[in-house]
């Protein structure tokens, strides 16, 4: 199955068992997050709130581009970064 690589920042490693890079099946960004959550329950809710929005201090990048719309397709072979944003101080 075509897959994408997801790099997760250290603040989520407690959910991934320490894994920093995870491969999941490709799809939209929302589907990638859902696939991550199936493997690591609870992770998606730490990044996306109950209204389907990326939390204010989290960022999802596709390559170098910050994703604002989770319906964005994530092509096979591409890489997603989930990071905590710089929030001052």
């Amino acid at each position: 199955m075509p897959s994408v690589r997801v790099r997760v920042a250290a603040l989520l490693h407690s959910y991934t068992g320490g894994a920093a890079v995870i491969e999941v099946e490709s799809g939209t960004a929302a589907e990638v997050m859902a696939a991550l959550d199936r493997r690591f329950p609870g992770l998606a809710f730490r990044v996306i709130d109950e209204q389907g929005q990326v939390r204010p201090h989290m960022k999802i990048f596709l390559g170098e581009e910050m994703l604002r719309d989770l319906r964005t397709p994530v092509p096979p072979g591409s890489e997603i970064f989930i990071v905590g944003s710089l929030s001052g101080g």
Binding site: L11, G42, F45, Q51, R55, S87
Partner: protein
């Protein structure tokens, strides 16, 4: 007060702070060397951490990191291991309100997101495994499986009047509006009380299906007097409200505008608060955050006055920290400052004072400057047990193995 009934045999204080929770354990030999243990949830904000006084003593923690949002953790082994709730408190999606009768500008139609879980409360003794959680923005959530999964209480969260009660969820309180002081009446599991900052005190007599305000007699100095001279029914700012565990007809209340007591007459539907803070020294006043009640004596409680004048510094009045105690239901108050620093300007937040259920009753309060003060003689004297911790947001008693 965040814990009207302490777990039996409590041997530790749990300090929830801006950067984690610290257990502070009483020495087994009864000596003076309390032991500050390594933190739980280091780096995360812990708004509240409560051990269930019923049964096996499950502990729940309301935890938030700056980045990852809010959640609830639970421990069934006295804090040795923690596991995140399988379904933390979360509001309904905005789409679910599309065909509701809520007003067009009701914020629930735009979609509310839990910013933090603020308050955790074990349910009635006859309902083991039931817990309630109050959140910011204001919301009430319930767990029926000992904190593993949480659902909104629809009678409250979907109530059309809620938007009026809580200023349409607008932030008015530092760090956001709050639902707190959730308590089930020990004498009647159908009777639930909660408080909104701002919004007022509310009561349900049908296990949360419907609610009504209980604010008669409470001042609201921050709103203009009504032209017809009537009282505001809601919109008040309760800081901490307690159903007295030994006398549930007696409620105590530290408000933004004074200290109050309410005595329900048998079978009455209405009751009015009486401002017992009028009996405090005038130069100290009756503004503060925590209200701590003796678990067996319904005439004894403790408050921590703060400066509510001018620009509301919220610090010790005149820079002279003191706890005040009443033993006669608020008719008179006694200043208790032996052992406390002569000058200090800290704040004691609403969830940062607790008792341990012991005899004599042990008391502790934490400060925004990260100090923990303890009294083993019901407040007559105070000792410092911890210094220089992060900002303390919550203090509770626990029984650790």
């Amino acid at each position: 007060m965040t814990q009207p009934i302490a777990p039996a045999g409590a041997n530790a204080w749990i300090l929830g702070t801006r950067k984690g929770a610290w257990p502070l354990r009483r020495p087994a030999d009864g000596g003076k060397d309390w032991r500050l243990e390594e933190p739980w949830f280091f780096g995360c904000q812990v708004h509240h951490l409560v051990q269930d006084p019923r049964g096996a003593g499950t502990m729940l923690a309301a935890v938030r990191t700056g980045h990852l949002g809010p959640t609830v953790y639970r421990s069934t082994d006295g804090g040795r291991n923690w596991k995140e709730a399988g379904r933390p408190p979360a509001f309904r999606k905005k789409e679910e309100y599309a065909s509701s009768s809520l007003a067009a500008d009701d914020q629930r139609r735009q979609g509310l997101t839990v910013d933090h879980v603020f308050f955790l409360s074990p349910g009635h003794a006859s309902q083991p495994g039931v817990w309630y959680a109050g959140t910011s923005p204001v919301g009430l959530f319930k767990s029926e499986d000992d904190g593993v999964t949480w659902s909104g209480v629809p009678g409250f969260n979907d109530c059309a009047a809620l938007a009026q009660w809580c200023y349409n969820f607008a932030p008015g309180t530092p760090e956001g509006p709050k639902c707190h002081s959730v308590q089930v009446d020990p004498a009647n599991p159908k009777r639930i009380m909660l408080a909104l900052s701002g919004g007022g005190v509310f009561l349900s007599e049908d296990q949360g299906a419907s609610w009504r305000p209980v604010n008669g007699g409470v001042a609201m100095d921050f709103a203009p007097p009504r032209e017809d001279g009537s009282e505001y029914e809601f919109g008040h700012d309760p800081h901490d409200v307690v159903i007295h565990p030994a006398n549930p007809r007696c409620w105590y209340h530290q408000n933004h505008c004074g200290i109050y007591r309410l005595d329900w007459k048998h079978g009455a539907r209405e009751a009015r608060w009486r401002r017992i803070g009028d009996n405090m020294p005038k130069d100290v006043g009756d503004i503060g955050f925590p209200m701590t009640c003796h678990p067996k004596d319904d005439k004894a409680c403790w408050v921590v006055p703060m400066d509510g004048g001018t620009v509301w510094p919220r610090t010790s009045v005149a820079g002279k920290p003191a706890v005040y105690r009443t033993r006669d239901g608020g008719e008179s108050w006694q200043r208790l400052d032996r052992g406390l620093p002569p000058r200090a300007w800290y704040t004691v937040l609403r969830q940062a004072m607790a008792h341990d259920g012991g005899e004599p009753l042990g008391l502790a309060f934490g400060t925004t400057s990260g100090d923990l003060w303890w009294s083993g003689d019901e407040g007559d004297s105070w000792s410092n047990l911890a210094r220089a911790l992060p900002r303390i947001t919550s203090v509770t008693a626990a029984r650790l193995g």
